[in-house]
Amino acid sequence: MLDNYSSNATTAKIRAKYAQLFTLDEYRDMAALRSVPEAAEFISRSSRFREAFTEVDPNTIHRGYLEELLYRENFETYIRLCKFQGLDKVPFFGFLIRRSEIECILSIINRINSSLDRTYLSDLPGYLIKYLSIPVMELSNSQTYEELVAGLKGTRYGRLLGRVPVREDGNADYTECELRLRTDYYAELLEQADKEFGGAVSDELKTMILREIDCRNIINAYRMKAYFGFEPDEIKRRSLKFYGIGKKNMERLYEAADAEVMMDMVNHTIYGKNSPDTDNIEVEINSVKIRRLRHYLTGSTYAPVSLYAFIQLCDIDVSNLVTIIEGIRYGVEAAAIEAQLITL
């Protein structure tokens, strides 16, 4: 078991890095820019991304590569923080690598289902390759779901996906695959949080993970209700079976008459308090999530808690930057871009 106080330097380092995240004013300044090169220039001047942009010319950078660089910096920050005090030797800290593996597998399944097989290789983020435990480049050449499962043989993903029934057209239900992979991911994460850390660290980690799952479930349930008109039982079946606010409370949300009623009910839970007035469910729920993550990051002295919270905040930061870049690219008004940002 990791000594809770042996990784204080990592906590201090994370807090210092936290100060480098973009502020609301910086988002606003960036959203007011007129072209992607200007946005790239703006990002390249920031202390968080300066190093990652040293060899890049902001005037000629491809928009896709710009976004990939942002995600790469997030991933490398995570790797650097894990290696800083040798935390990468503790299984829990492999969470981002496992999450990235799942994202890659799901992308490949999605492309196979859409008859775009063998196209993932070009889009596969190159920086991930050396860290993943699965042969992702061979897998991206899979033409059928069975080929993919065969390629994953011997891994936990292979066992999980092998149990998903294959349809007549040779494809598997994407949602079912996602549910199984994510359920296994979170179950393992919660178990590791329990076994590898004790007392308060374990409690704080588990609370944070369960709240992350709640947010994911609420957003998905809202979409299923609002855009697909799914029945409560179907929503329950397609949601992750972990609950931060309790099973009964979450099921009550699923059983709401419609999406609007559901959001009213969400506003009376911890995920609705002080949330900004917006129509975008992701912005609404994730804004509350940010507050909680910041609370953990600034209040906790435990490296696992700080790191887990920090990585999520980095993800949100980059997702905001990508939203702004896309907004600028399509000539969206600065105010409209700002409305799509996940901030406090």
Partner: protein
């Protein structure tokens, strides 16, 4: 020691006089402008948001100066008085036409140099290639592309089925430079694969021939040749610059002023065909300011009382005497009082000076501080220097009382003996208890004075909660003073004053008043009973819980604020202690080193202790004293002005 009285000024006039009016407002040096436009649907005053016509010529002259390498300095002249933007444009075009040809030629060659340098940078990464560029690109059946791609993506190449091969030349942290070859017929597909991996193609210029080394040599000689041409053109341009530099400088100075004045129109309102300017001038300057516009027939200046317009708050200018003026800096640092509010500068000046003297008492060091203050006020910062001078004097006075001169504690003993004063000098380490108790006594006195000031302000504002029932009002004053008297009499003087009536009337009743300050003040003011002024549905339970915690905080603040003044005594001891260390070190050094030790020791103590004491007193002033009565919600007086600047942000 109050706050400068202001007059509200309304200026109305015809648009043709607007620039002249704004210029005169700036030149007066005492006009604080307020936005005349209000963003309301039914407002008759509209915003003047015309484009500044002087922006373009200003930019033109700045660029002319930059092209001719003229350093922009303020050069006033009457030559351009009354000139319109078009006239400035015409002048800049005339000058520009003379240098345009040469300047364009220079730019063209500079662009060529930049391209050549870019090509050097690209070709430099292809050092691994020893074949002639022209031969490779001349292949008919093979397409080839030179460029770079993210190094992370190199591993993916072997997983593509298509026929191509990539030759890497150089790999840096992020990128791999190289070229790929493919069949001419497949090039579109292969190009799209490489594009999806963010391959950035480099187009090698036609003039780059031979292998890499040969190409680099050729490029280098071409760059040298072009740079020599640029130098020759620079000489010709500088000759032209000498001819025009005076005109450019004068025109730029005049334009900058006109541009800045035009920018001030953003605060000017327009009513039908007339402009409308609103602002404040100090009352003592109001008549002189008004007279400045007498010769302008179309402009009318109306002086009104400062509070005539309820929508705008008059700015605050502290009115201080010669002794207190430097301490205005501290008050401004905390925040200005509101207009018609209380100016605490005199109180700060007196308490700061005395506390500094007590905490840093040394005749010699005080004298040095006094001299240093003079130097600072002359050379660096007048208010800061003034504060140091006053603190130095105070330090000298208290240093005399302590009998301390540069750490020599017995030097003044014979002087006091000669005068027959036997209770002086104060021997700090022998009378440490007395010093600490005196410090607390000073604290109690200052807190009581702060409360009295608060009571005065409260009555002036007709704020009964603040004046009577608050923790710094009469109730708080009675409670705090009674507890202090009770503690001093019972513990130190052994006099039993804490009788039942004393406890009930001087402690319990004031505490009840503080606890119920909100309903009591509402009862006095509105003659009705309400638990809260803002919350309609405040319950008794809620009221008790809220006020219980607030009471707890008040009581804690009485104790902590009083104890905070112990630091005054603490620093007296610490100063004496540090000087004792200096003396001990001096005794330990050889006789030749003694003066050096004494000087360095004194300088060290002065710098360190002086700064710490200064900061600690600011802390006492801001937290212990200001928090009891001072509200810094004033607005600074900012006279309208334009200043010369070489930066053009148009």
């Amino acid at each position: 020691m109050a706050i400068e009285k202001m007059a509200l000024v309304n200026i109305i006039g015809r648009f043709e006089d607007l620039d002249e009016t704004l210029m005169r407002c700036c030149d007066s040096g005492c006009f604080h402008i307020e936005p005349a436009f209000k963003n309301e649907a039914n407002s008759t005053v509209r915003l003047l948001n015309e484009k500044n016509p002087f922006g373009v010529p200003l930019k033109e002259f700045a660029s002319l100066a930059s092209e001719m390498d003229i350093k922009l300095t303020e050069t006033p002249s009457t030559r351009f008085k009354g000139w319109k933007a078009e006239q400035f444009n015409e002048l800049s075009e005339n000058i520009d036409s003379e240098i345009e040809a040469k300047s364009k030629e220079k730019q063209r060659i500079a662009k060529e140099v930049s391209d050549l340098e870019g090509a050097v940078l690209q070709v430099d990464h292809l050092r691994g290639m020893n074949n002639d560029f022209s031969k490779i690109f001349a292949c008919k059946h093979t397409a080839c592309r030179v460029g770079r791609m993210p190094a992370d993506n190199l591993a993916k190449l072997q997983y593509y089925d298509q026929t191509f091969f990539f030759v890497p030349f150089e790999t840096t942290k992020d990128f791999c430079w190289g070229m790929y070859f493919c069949a001419e017929g497949d090039k579109e597909l292969i190009d799209s694969i490489f594009r999806s991996m963010f391959f950035e193609r480099i187009r090698i210029p036609d003039y780059v021939t031979g292998n890499t080394d040969e190409a680099l040599k050729k490029l280098d000689s071409q760059i040298k040749e072009k740079k020599a041409q640029i130098e020759a053109l620079d000489k010709e341009i500088s000759q032209l610059a000498e001819k025009h530099d005076q005109t450019v400088l004068e025109a730029y100075t005049a334009l900058k002023k006109r541009y800045d004045i035009f920018e001030l129109r953003r605060k000017v309102g327009a009513v039908k065909e007339k402009f409308y300017i609103k602002g404040f001038v100090p009352k003592k300057n109001a008549d002189k300011f008004s007279e400045g516009f007498k010769d302008m027939d179309g402009v009318e200046v109306v002086l009104l009382p400062a509070d005539a317009d309820a929508n705008i708050t008059p700015p605050t200018v502290l009115k201080n005497g010669w002794f207190t003026r430097p301490f205005g800096m501290l008050v401004e640092m905390y925040g200005l009082p509101k207009y018609n509010g209380f100016n605490p500068t005199a109180f700060v000046a007196i308490t700061y000076t005395i506390l500094f003297g007590i905490m840093f008492g040394d005749l010699g060091q005080g004298f040095l501080l006094f001299l240093l203050g003079f130097l600072i006020s002359r050379k660096i910062n007048k208010p800061a220097g003034g504060m140091v001078t006053r603190c130095g004097l105070s330090s000298m006075v208290f240093g005399t009382l302590y009998g301390s001169v540069f750490g020599f504690e017995e030097l003044l003993d014979p002087v006091f003996e000669n005068f027959g004063v036997d209770f002086l000098p104060l021997k700090i380490f022998k009378q440490s208890t007395f010093i600490l108790l005196t410090a607390v006594g000073i604290g109690i006195f200052l807190i009581l004075v702060s409360m009295l000031i608060n009571i005065g302000i409260g009555f002036k504002e007709k704020n009964y909660e603040k004046a009577i029932f608050g923790c710094n009002g009469i109730a708080g004053l009675v409670f705090y003073a009674s507890v202090c008297v009770g503690v001093v009499c019972t513990i130190m003087l052994k006099i039993e004053v804490m009788s039942l009536p004393f406890k009930i009337f001087l402690i319990v009743i004031p505490l009840i008043c503080i606890f119920c300050r909100v309903p009591f003040s509402i009862a006095v003011k509105y003659k009705k009973w309400k638990l809260s002024e803002d919350e309609e549905d405040m319950t008794i339970g809620g009221f008790i819980v809220e006020n219980f915690f607030e009471m707890f905080e008040f009581l804690l603040s009485y104790v902590s604020n009083t104890m905070s003044f112990l630091r005054v005594g603490g620093f007296v001891l610490s100063h004496a202690g540090m000087m004792m260390v200096v003396m001990t070190l001096m005794d330990m050094t050889a006789s030749a080193g003694k003066p050096v030790t004494l000087i360095i020791g004194n300088l060290f103590v002065m710098a360190m202790e002086g700064m710490i004491v200064a900061i600690q007193i600011i802390r006492l002033e801001f937290y212990e004293i200001f928090s009891r009565f001072y509200e810094s919600d004033g607005k600074a007086f900012e006279p309208m002005s334009v200043s010369f600047d070489t930066e053009v942000n148009v």
